[in-house]
């Protein structure tokens, strides 16, 4: 939907609505998707901005909430490890810093995934009454997650200072990794948000899914060289992503280059498929939500 084929000299736009329009476009649909996305970037910013101020406006602790989850988890796991309740192998760097450097990108991923899943159902009112590229609802959810990430980074900086350490120089590549991570979350979000608009069970299940996924990812423990660990680092794209993010931040090396490359290709593929499916079903969202 929303084809914008320029017609006439005055730069006027004619929109044509016909059934199964995308089928007639062939591969040209990718170009249309891209043009639409670029055209909507202002709206993405605006919606992200809206979510951020709306979230912190009416709460007493305001942006401190962004710190709450990662800090609480860091303290809990530091306690569990220190009290030897959970046998987590020793790490080269101080454990609180280790666990926080894993929780930070994981939290970004989890917030993106949770937010995008419910993004369509949350905006059902708007979907029925206004015409705009529906992708923006999903993509704009990254804004809030990135904002929380930036706020929580202050704690990370504090930890570096506390332990008298400095990040490795490779930290300059860190944003690229976050981009991959966010792209992956959005790609999954495309599919999950569509599913959620058809069956509401998805929204209920997503919290549990994220929790289990975190336990299967080396967030609070170092990656293991065992057979199970090797399988997980291939089957679970988040495993090399989290490990590499920690490598870039703390070690200045990349310990899983092949797995990371594999994960990156997999993530991009999933994102493209998700986006295409989303675009295909986009015209149906408003009437079925």
């Amino acid at each position: 939907m929303r084809p914008t084929t320029p017609v006439g000299s005055a730069g006027e736009h004619v929109r044509v609505y016909v059934p199964d329009r995308q089928r007639q476009l062939g591969l040209g649909v990718w170009k249309e998707m891209w043009v639409e996305l670029i055209g909507a970037r202002e709206l993405i910013w605006r919606l992200a901005w809206r979510d951020i101020i709306a979230k912190y406006k009416q709460s007493v602790f305001g942006i401190l909430w962004a710190l709450f989850v990662p800090v609480a988890l860091m303290l809990a796991f530091t306690f569990l490890k220190g009290a030897e309740l959970v046998p987590i192998p020793d790490t080269e760097i101080p454990y609180p810093l280790f666990v926080f450097s894993g929780l930070l990108p994981w939290q970004l991923f989890a917030t993106c995934l949770g937010g995008t899943t419910t993004s369509l159902t949350q905006a059902s009112d708007l979907l029925r009454k206004a015409n705009f590229p529906r992708e923006v609802l999903v993509i704009s959810k990254v804004g809030q997650a990135v904002f929380s990430f930036l706020v929580a980074s202050i704690v990370l900086a504090g930890l570096f200072v506390y332990y008298g350490m400095a990040p490795a120089w490779t930290v300059v590549f860190y944003p690229l990794l976050l981009l991959l991570l966010a792209t992956f979350a959005v790609g999954l979000g495309f599919g999950l948000s569509l599913l959620q608009s058809a069956v509401r069970d998805v929204g209920n299940a997503i919290g549990i899914l994220i929790m289990v996924w975190m336990l299967l990812t080396p967030v609070v423990y170092p990656p293991s060289a065992t057979r199970a660990g090797a399988i997980l680092s291939l089957a679970n794209p988040m495993s090399p992503i989290i490990t590499t993010s920690r490598d870039l931040l703390l070690h200045g090396t990349v310990t899983m280059p092949e797995q990371l490359a594999f994960a990156a290709v997999l993530c991009l593929l999933i994102t493209l498929v998700g986006w295409r499916m989303f675009h295909l079903l986009e015209p149906k969202i408003a009437e079925r939500i």
Partner: protein, 423 residues
């Protein structure tokens, strides 16, 4: 752009919906799977529990024109608006829309309750397709039009529903659309705001914006639209002249009511066998002009003898308002035996009804003046011809006179006689 350019063209448009939630989800997935493999979806035929919400709609709209969409609830009016707005995709046929589309469908949809009115202007404007610059330029005008005072800095959740509509309308109307889709939204605002909305809509039309207007207020449709479409169960039952469309719709509505009333009162003492409308000369008529003389003739057959009663004619407007009742003196009916017939004639000189469709009900009342004592399932509906651009049911005889440099720009017809010269 030429003034005569077509803004909207709809050709053989069909749209179907699914009644069942589960099936709807299944069909969506099935269509998506077919789409993913490049196969056509099953868009053009009905599957189980699907129905056509729109069937074969065709029309074109030029710049500055306004189309009224009227019809009973569930006729497909909003569905058609949504197809034109691009919210939903047609299943057959095509719709072509030129230029920017403004939608006034449920104003304030997408307002975020925690944000202030001003913040919401930025968000809503962006959703409606305004650029950041455009919003900044028009912010002042929007705030002024909404006219909600200091509330513009308060969270929207503290707004009254009227204030929400004001803000929503103010934003939507400032995107300078070439096509405006309006869905029964003006009913909420207060009188002064509504007046300003119409003023602004007139302005937009002069700057050659086309409109599609959905409303149940017939006098509004009559006032604003030069053509109208009467939708009935998804079909365009009539498309063309506004007055004709309105009277067809009102007639259809009355027929629905009559059908509901049919069969009530079976076994009553009298049966109305026939009702007829005649003009002064005695010709059968179904439509009259305001000011004409109307003769209502009825024939009743006695089923069971009745002692006393009254003949009664009630005149109801198409909206169900009883405009008037005409009652006979008390009648002595004791001499009529079963099987015998009686005739009655009622003369209404100088009929003072506004143009519209009326429902005349001719019955006998029992001695206590309540309750019918005659079967009444004969449809009798009267149409009063004329422009349907005014509200009300009673036509007050009147004449206009003006002083000063006032001329008549356009004469409405017989009932707006104006005397020239100093009063």
């Amino acid at each position: 752009m030429s003034a005569n350019e077509t803004v909207v063209r709809v050709d053989g448009l069909w749209k179907k919906y699914c009644k069942s939630l589960k099936r709807s989800a299944f069909y969506t997935l099935a269509d998506a799977a077919r789409g993913a493999f490049g196969l056509p979806s099953h868009a053009d035929r009905l599957r189980k529990e699907e129905f056509w919400a729109l069937r074969d709609i065709n029309f074109a709209l030029k710049r500055g024109e306004c189309l009224g969409l009227i019809g009973p609830n569930g006729a497909g009016k909003t569905t058609l608006l949504k197809v034109l707005g691009g919210m939903i995709e047609p299943d057959r046929g095509r719709a072509e829309v030129r230029g920017r589309v403004g939608t006034l469908i449920q104003l304030g949809a997408g307002f975020h309750m925690q944000l202030t009115g001003r913040e919401n202007i930025y968000v809503n404007g962006a959703i409606l397709g305004m650029s950041r610059r455009e919003i900044r330029d028009k912010l002042g005008a929007i705030v002024e039009f909404a006219d909600i005072g200091e509330f513009i800095e308060s969270p929207v959740k503290f707004y009254s529903s009227g204030m929400l509509v004001r803000l929503g309308f103010a934003i939507a109307i400032h995107i300078e659309p070439e096509l405006l889709l309006i869905d029964e939204v003006l009913a909420v605002g207060d009188v002064s705001f509504r007046a300003r909305c119409f003023e602004r809509m007139d302005e937009l039309r002069r700057s050659s914006c086309a409109m599609v207007f959905v409303s149940h207020a017939m006098h509004m449709v009559g006032r604003i639209c030069e053509k109208a479409c009467f939708l009935h169960r998804g079909c365009a039952a009539y498309l063309g002249d506004t007055d004709e469309a309105i009277s067809r719709y009102l007639s259809a509505q009355s027929e629905v009511r009559l059908a509901e009333a049919a069969g009530k009162g079976v076994g009553m003492p009298y049966l109305v066998e026939e009702t007829a409308f005649q003009d002064e000369a005695g010709n059968q008529v179904t439509a009259v002009e305001c000011g004409d003389t109307l003769r209502v003739k009825g024939r009743l057959r006695c089923v069971r003898p009745l002692g006393e009663g009254f003949a009664n004619l009630s005149i109801k407007s198409s909206e169900g308002l009883v405009c008037s009742e005409c009652r006979s003196p008390k009648l002595d009916l004791s001499a009529i035996s079963p099987g015998e017939r009686m005739s009655v004639e009622l003369r209404l000189p100088n009929l003072a009804l506004m143009p519209g469709v009326y429902w005349l009900k001719f019955v006998l009342l029992g001695p206590s003046r309540v309750g019918y004592v005659a079967n009444t399932d004969v449809p009798y509906q009267l149409r009063v011809k004329g422009r349907m651009d005014r509200a009300g049911v009673v036509h007050m005889p009147h004449s206009w006179s003006f002083s000063g440099a006032v001329g008549v720009a356009e004469s409405h017809g017989s009932d707006d006689r104006m005397s020239r010269g100093a009063p």
